[in-house]
């Protein structure tokens, strides 16, 4: 297996995540001064440089020797108090500290997963597994003649029936159909539209009927949120699965999200297996019942 491909393997992600976490804990262990050196505080050259830079950035000029001494003294003071806080267990039971540390670990697991881009083959595999999510719905293109419910009241339906008869008999040519009805705020002819699109424009009743109508014939009256319509479905485009290229960017976004979730979950599951977890079932049941 080529080493680049190796980088895409979930197992490798997992191991990488573990490695980084190990490094993190080593790093934290050192800077927190816990562990073997718990009674030793070392102000290293790096630390002094960091203090100096922070000061310079905030004040616009480097610290004087006196100011630097004071910075170091402050750092030591904070470190001493911090270690005492840890030693006294003050970090325990603090929800904010707990949550923050838990988040740091979770983010770490995710960030490792997020750095690896999916190959074409992986996109294809993800697409194959989730194809229905990307299905392009059935669409119809249609023309219609409108009879305003507001202006014609109950007469709208009769007018629509009359128009339908004239169109069906050939008395009026399809090209002149629109002249039989009222002016309409939306379009008279629509290119292929999905059921949802039609529903958002004409209301649910119209959308429901439209998709049952025969192709290339005048039908109606079909009620909408606005009045009555005589409708001619021009074309019915069956539902289909898109080619990968048509949904590639959405696919990549979805796969990325999926990977982050599964990386976080897998990492968590791995950690969780190391614990024996005991929940007081009686208290739980009692709490639920008492609620």
């Amino acid at each position: 297996m080529h080493w680049r491909r190796l980088l895409r393997e979930p197992l490798v992600h997992f191991l990488l995540a573990g490695g980084v976490l190990f490094g993190l804990s080593a790093l934290f262990g050192q800077s927190f001064g816990v562990g073997d050196n718990s009674n030793r505080i070392e102000v290293t050259a790096d630390r002094i440089q960091q203090l100096r830079e922070t000061w310079t950035r905030q004040r616009g000029a480097p610290p004087t020797q006196r100011e630097l001494d004071s910075l170091i003294e402050d750092f030591i003071r904070e470190e001493v108090l911090y270690r005492e806080a840890i030693a006294s267990g003050l970090d325990q039971g603090d929800t904010i500290v707990r949550r923050r540390l838990a988040q740091k670990v979770e983010f770490l697991a995710q960030s490792v997963a997020s750095t690896v881009e999916p190959s074409d083959a992986e996109l294809q595999a993800f697409f194959d597994d989730n194809a229905e999510r990307y299905r392009i719905p059935e669409k119809v293109s249609f023309s219609h003649v409108y009879f305003s419910g507001s202006n014609r009241g109950a007469g709208a339906e009769a007018a629509a029936r009359d128009a339908l008869a004239r169109l069906t008999s050939g008395d009026v040519a399809t090209a002149d159909a629109a002249q039989l009805g009222d002016r309409f705020m939306l379009q008279y002819e629509y290119p292929p539209q999905s059921r949802d699109q039609v529903r958002d424009l004409f209301g649910p009743r119209f959308a429901g009927r439209l998709f049952e109508l025969p192709v290339d014939a005048w039908s109606g009256p079909v009620p909408s949120s606005y009045g009555m319509h005589v409708v001619r479905v021009r074309q019915r485009v069956p539902s289909r699965l898109p080619a990968l290229g048509e949904v590639r960017s959405q696919l990549a976004r979805d796969l990325g999200g999926e990977r982050l979730r599964s990386a976080a979950d897998a990492y968590y599951e791995g950690l969780r297996r190391r614990f024996e977890i005991v929940v007081d079932a009686d208290a739980l049941a009692g709490g639920a019942a008492g609620n």
């Binding site: 980088l7 507001s150 002016r183 705020m185 606005y226 960017s249 990325g256």
Partner: protein, 651 residues
């Protein structure tokens, strides 16, 4: 496009934005040739794939279609969204939501729009852009500063709101003054994010299907006053280099206009859209205290700002009963109480309302030869949770969308208890949408509609609204089949200027054609009104509201110009409403009975629906609690057309 020189190597900084970002980030590196595991970047390069649907040129309708959009939404890139809203979702999630995808926010909640938007722009705050980003970048020393720690802990006061009111953030930006120098890290970071904003907009643009614009919110908040914010929307990918935010421009809108005029040249086109004049402390349509009205300045202002946002979550800005009007329909989602004598901020000033601004624009035009307040209307939500276009009163409940206002104002609707309302009066509404009449759903067509002000705003329901004026329209034009064609041919649409009358004789005045159609998901229409404002020779301004088309056979009283109420009801126990009253569509061809050819005037349309439940009522029902006592239980959703102006012919 050049890559930003910085990379996010951080842990929390990166992973916190994991969900929406990662996909596009993954795409970026397709080819897989990076020898080391590549560091993911905060902002992705554009999605490589162009949707297949975009290949064909979208069909154009010369009579124009209505498209609905949102020009005001914030993501985690905005400090107030991040800290006050606790929002951890970025602009990409906003675009995905806007185009209709089901999205899962970082807090685990799942959201989907009932009706996808046709177009949108994400308008993150300029002022904090670089700083928010630096505060999340673990590779940058700013990350360790207490200010950034507090930001990440959602501590608004701990951030000092990032010195938004003119103070600087040397601890984050690396130097004392927030200048545009290359050495200023915040400015540099904002410059790169501006490129990311463009890339994000480009990546989601599908001509004919979903149109996106590069944009940001210019966030001037001068000390002691309300705000002077503007959303800056560019027509396409010809945009200037980042020119600094409101703080760098000393919170002076004229510097924004001057910069746009100087920098947005060639193919670049732009509009700046002021919003929330209702919160501007009397300044919105003023000289700001430092920009005296001159012909030159007013001309620049009129060029830069052809539109105003008339409605959003932080209240309505059309009008306020008692402040220059007695119109009872102005009692609608007003935010602040009326100012007490001597009170400057936190209250409603008469000059801050759009109808009054239109009137003062007529007066200024007489004095200076240019009308700086010749505004077309838009509306938007100003959501701060990366969820654009979610304007339904009931979804506002169902999704428990959290809003925040920023600027030190109390939170709106954030896990709202009714006590908050009693305490702070801070509840507003779900906001509205922008409507445009455009030939196609493309950047070019929609932007051109903005420029000619062929726009309308609404309070969140998708009422369709046409409005034209011309000389000598036939009296039945509104019912004729060729109405739209004839109205365009013989007059001007909403947002336009009436031409001089033929032969120079205004006679009985122009005729107006108005036509409105209901939202299939909302109540029937109750009435269509025309709001007229005018200025006389002495500079005195006045207004009159005319009911011009009322449902259920009602006719306006000749004295009051108002129709009786149609009696439509709402059942407050389940929010069902009258479906037998009101109309699916209303239209009329109208002439002004009080037309005076010697006076400058404007006319705009307001459409009112039958009443429906306000979001507070939906929410109370869902929670099984009592209605908030101080809020109206119902609202009349509405739409406003841009005005049409009449100017007497020069003698």
């Amino acid at each position: 496009m050049p890559r930003p020189p910085f990379r996010m190597k951080g842990r929390a900084g990166l992973a916190a934005r994991w969900l929406p970002l990662i996909g596009v980030g993954l795409l970026a590196a397709c080819g897989g040739s990076a020898p080391e595991a590549p560091a993911a970047e905060d902002s992705p390069p554009p999605a490589a794939a162009t949707p297949a649907a975009a290949v064909a040129e979208p069909e154009r309708n010369t009579l124009r279609n209505a498209y609905f959009g949102d020009f005001h939404v914030h993501s985690r890139w905005s400090l107030d969204s991040y800290v006050l809203g606790g929002n951890r979702d970025d602009p990409l999630l906003a675009y995905r939501f806007g185009r209709g995808e089901e999205v899962t926010k970082a807090d685990g909640t799942v959201h989907q729009l009932r009706v996808p938007l046709d177009f949108m722009a994400v308008t993150d705050h300029d002022t904090w852009l670089g700083k928010v980003h630096l505060c999340e970048d673990e590779s940058d020393p700013a990350y360790q500063t207490p200010t950034c720690e507090q930001m990440r802990a959602n501590d608004w006061f701990g951030t000092g709101a990032f010195e938004g009111r003119g103070r600087r953030s040397p601890d984050i930006c690396g130097q004392l003054e927030a200048t545009m120098d290359a050495g200023n890290k915040c400015y540099e970071r904002a410059r790169h994010l501006w490129q990311d904003i463009q890339r994000n907009a480009d990546a989601f643009y599908e001509p004919g299907v979903f149109t996106t614009f590069p944009a940001y919110e210019w966030t001037a908040t001068p000390a002691r006053y309300g705000h002077l914010h503007r959303n800056v929307i560019f027509r396409g990918d010809a945009v200037p280099e980042w020119g600094g935010g409101a703080v760098e421009m000393e919170n002076r809108p004229e510097r924004l206009w001057e910069w746009l005029e100087a920098a947005c040249t060639g193919d670049c086109q732009v509009v700046a859209i002021p919003h929330n004049p209702n919160l501007s402390g009397g300044l919105a349509f003023d000289e700001f205290g430092w920009t005296p009205f001159t012909t030159e300045m007013l001309r620049l202002r009129a060029w830069a700002e052809p539109l105003v946002e008339i409605h959003q979550i932080k209240g309505n800005s059309e009008c306020y009963r008692g402040l220059g009007t007695t119109d009872e329909d102005c009692n609608f989602e007003n935010y602040y109480p009326v100012c007490e004598p001597g009170q400057r901020s936190g209250c409603a000033h008469a000059p801050d309302f759009v109808r009054n601004a239109l009137k003062s624009g007529l007066r200024l035009e007489a004095d200076f030869g240019v009308n700086p307040f010749k505004f077309g209307f838009i509306a938007s939500p100003d959501d701060h949770q990366s969820l654009p276009g979610a304007t339904d009163e009931d979804e506002f409940t169902d999704k428990a969308v959290k809003f925040s206002t920023g600027g030190g104002l109390p939170l709106i609707g954030r896990d709202l208890g009714w006590d908050e309302k009693a305490d702070g009066g801070n509840i507003s509404n779900p906001g509205g949408l922008v409507g445009v009449w455009a030939e196609a759903n493309t950047r070019e067509s929609i932007f051109d509609a903005l420029r000619r002000r062929e726009t309308f705003g609404n309070s969140g329901t998708r009422i369709h609204l046409r409005f034209f004026a011309g000389w000598g329209y036939p009296a039945d034009l509104d019912t004729r089949r060729d109405m739209v064609e004839a109205a365009y041919a013989g007059g001007v649409p909403m947002g336009g200027d009436l031409p001089d009358p033929p032969g120079g004789e205004a006679g009985d005045g122009p005729s107006f054609v108005v036509w409105a159609m209901k939202d299939p998901y909302s109540a029937n229409l109750q009435k269509v009104q025309i709001v007229k404002g005018w200025a006389d020779a002495d500079g005195q301004t006045a207004e009159q509201v005319y009911d011009v088309a009322c449902a259920d056979g009602l006719q306006p009283d000749p004295g009051t110009h108002r129709c009786a109420d149609n009696g439509a009801q709402v059942n407050l126990s389940d929010c069902s409403y009258s479906t037998d009253l009101g109309a699916a569509e209303l239209s009329t061809t109208w002439t002004d009975p009080d037309f005076d050819p010697a006076l400058r005037a404007f006319y705009y349309v307001r459409v009112l629906e039958n009443p429906t439940c306000r979001w507070t009522t939906h929410r109370a029902l869902a929670r099984g609690v009592a209605l908030p006592p101080s809020d109206p239980p119902t609202v009349k959703e509405r739409a406003w057309s841009s005005p049409i102006w009449y100017t007497p012919a020069a003698p």
